[in-house]
């Protein structure tokens, strides 16, 4: 295990920000921490990197307790804070160099790694510009560059894509995959479920300080979906076809509605081709088809009764 969090509790006065959270994150994973605003993601991360003291619980990174081996553990982590943390009066290069030196890089290796980090985030051409003049997206990328020059084994990114355009966002997501391919374990925090769904192989969903579900994407979705649904738009609908579809194995129900067929089947019936056969045999034309798969949004909605973006 790269990260083991056991029964983590953090209170702000009477307010329970992190409520008995336990997580295990394995080597090479891109682990998503998904939750709405105020769920306790950043608080969890900040206890993980030793910035705030937990009220209870234990955290081990690479098997070492973070309180006992604070410096050793910190050396192996690259943190991309939610709030951009760069010196805006310094240039991009000076920022990356400063943070890299904090992790002990010097001389030739320092120069090499600084260039690598700036190249990686596409900022090399702007390296001598004062970062105050950067756009939001560029600052976000610089924020990332500052965290990777020392080649950390564990990279923690707290909402690295907040408030930036889709192009920059894709650039960042691609970088995350690339870092992971190069061997870093990644913790990725977000309240964009599409991002997490696209990027992460394991996910924990947090709400009100608690982990309400965790596991692989499929495990999470299986928790909430009891049936497979498909919606088919046809040139015309007749009752014969409805009756025939209902006879297909696994189908629970079929409803004709305004030129559409809504078919629900038992989970994992894998009967879609047979349903389509029925329609083709009835000489009807399929105009559009929509397979409704549960998303992480559905998972969250089912577990909390609220949508993520509320």
């Amino acid at each position: 295990m790269v990260v083991e969090i056991k029964n983590l509790v953090k209170r702000y006065n009477d307010f329970l920000a992190v409520d008995n959270v336990s997580l295990n994150i394995g080597e090479g994973e891109i682990y998503g921490l998904l939750g709405p605003n105020g769920a306790g993601k950043t608080t969890t991360i900040n206890t993980l990197i030793g910035l705030i003291k937990a009220d209870n619980g234990e955290i081990n990174i690479h098997g070492r307790n973070i309180n006992k081996y604070s410096d050793e553990v910190k050396r192996e982590i690259g943190i991309v804070p939610q709030e951009i943390a760069i010196y805006d009066e310094l240039t991009a290069m000076e920022n990356v160099t400063f943070f890299a030196r904090l992790y002990g890089l010097r001389d030739g290796l320092l120069k090499e790694r600084v260039k690598e980090a700036l190249d990686f985030t596409g900022l090399w051409d702007r390296r001598n510009d004062i970062s105050r003049k950067f756009s939001g997206g560029m600052k976000r990328r610089l924020n990332i560059a500052c965290s990777i020059a020392h080649h950390p084994k564990l990279i923690i990114m707290d909402e690295p894509t907040v408030g930036i355009d889709p192009q920059s966002r894709n650039h960042i997501l691609e970088s995350v995959r690339e870092l992971n391919r190069k061997g870093s374990t990644i913790i990725y925090t977000s309240h964009y479920m599409e991002e997490v769904e696209e990027l992460c192989n394991k996910i924990a969903i947090m709400d009100h300080g608690k982990v309400i579900a965790d596991g692989t994407k499929d495990e999470l979705k299986n928790m909430v979906s009891v049936e497979d649904r498909v919606e088919i738009e046809l040139s015309a609908v007749n009752y014969t076809v409805v009756d025939n579809v209902k006879k297909v194995t696994g189908v629970k129900d079929c409803i004709a509605d305004n030129g559409r067929l809504r078919v629900s089947s038992h989970k994992d019936s894998k009967n879609l081709s047979r349903i389509i056969d029925c329609i083709v045999n009835a000489d009807l034309e399929i105009i559009a088809m929509n397979i409704e798969k549960p998303t992480l949004e559905t998972v969250f909605l089912t577990l909390t009764g609220r949508t993520l973006r509320d």
Partner: protein
Amino acid sequence: MVIFQNNIKRLLRDKYTFLMMFVIPIIFISFILFSVGGSRPISVSVIDKDNTELTKLFLEDMSKNCKLVDIKENEIQKKLIRGRTDYVILIEKGFSEAIIKGEDVRLKTYNIKETNSSMAAQIYADSFINAIKNIGKASNGNEASFYEGMAHYKDSSLGVEYTSLGKSNSKRAYTVTGIGYLLMFMMYLAVNSTSLVLQDKQLKTYGRVLAAPVSTKMYTLQNFLSGYLIVAVQVTLILLIMRYVFKADFGPALLSIYAFILIFAITAIALSAMINSFSKDSRQANSMSSLLIVPMCMLGGAFWPRWLMPDLLRKISSFVPVSWALDALEKLIYGRPFSSVLLEVAIVMLFALVFFLISANKKRVKNA
């Protein structure tokens, strides 16, 4: 020392720091030093009841550096208070005889405490009396050999040294005021440069740096050191400019003065640490420092001599480190040795300790 270096880089790049460091202090101090008009000689009155060859020599000597003002014994108080004379010396009958016999006699003197001019007059008188006491001891009560020694003394280098002890005393008074302003600007700069910690908190780089393998202690220490270096550079350059460009008169021991101011710089950093620990951001720290530093300097006598202030304020002023610093610096400027300001060094360091403790305690409470 990565943080230290980074802080220095950030500070030197900041135009505001540069203004506070040199430009503003130099403008102020040059005003003060250029306002040194025709320097007023020190007025000394001697009531000579002994009236011997020796006391005549003494009067002659004093007149080289001071303006001698006639006075009667019953008007000493009045004339001192009205500023007609700065220093009154009363030579009792038998004084010369006692000196020649090598006895330990003292002059009776009157002055208003702590005025610069009287301090200078006192130094002239003391050095003369010390010299003649030594000659007295050496001559073993023999009047002839005593006066022989005196004649020798007058020509000797010793005599030259003491006459050069302070030709321009009121010029030195301006130097004291100039240094008073320097202390004020030091404290401002100290607050400004150590409040990088508050900027770091706003920029969120504070937490980011602590997420690296850096302890809070190391961060704080390097923050103090960078602030101290900036203040030390300020002090060095301004003293050099005062001395070599404005030709300010620092008396005989500029190095001691420099050393003392560098010690006071620690107190300035400690004060800043305290101000920072009570502030949310650097703007708040700056307004709090204005609120503290100016009154501190007023009480401490940075803008005018403390003896001008009412008794109560003078008493209060001993709770302000600037008072002690200026007392010490005044002594050094008027030629006293560094050993005479050790008490002030101790007290100024004690203030530093108290300020550091308050800020550490405040931080602890905040974190709890």
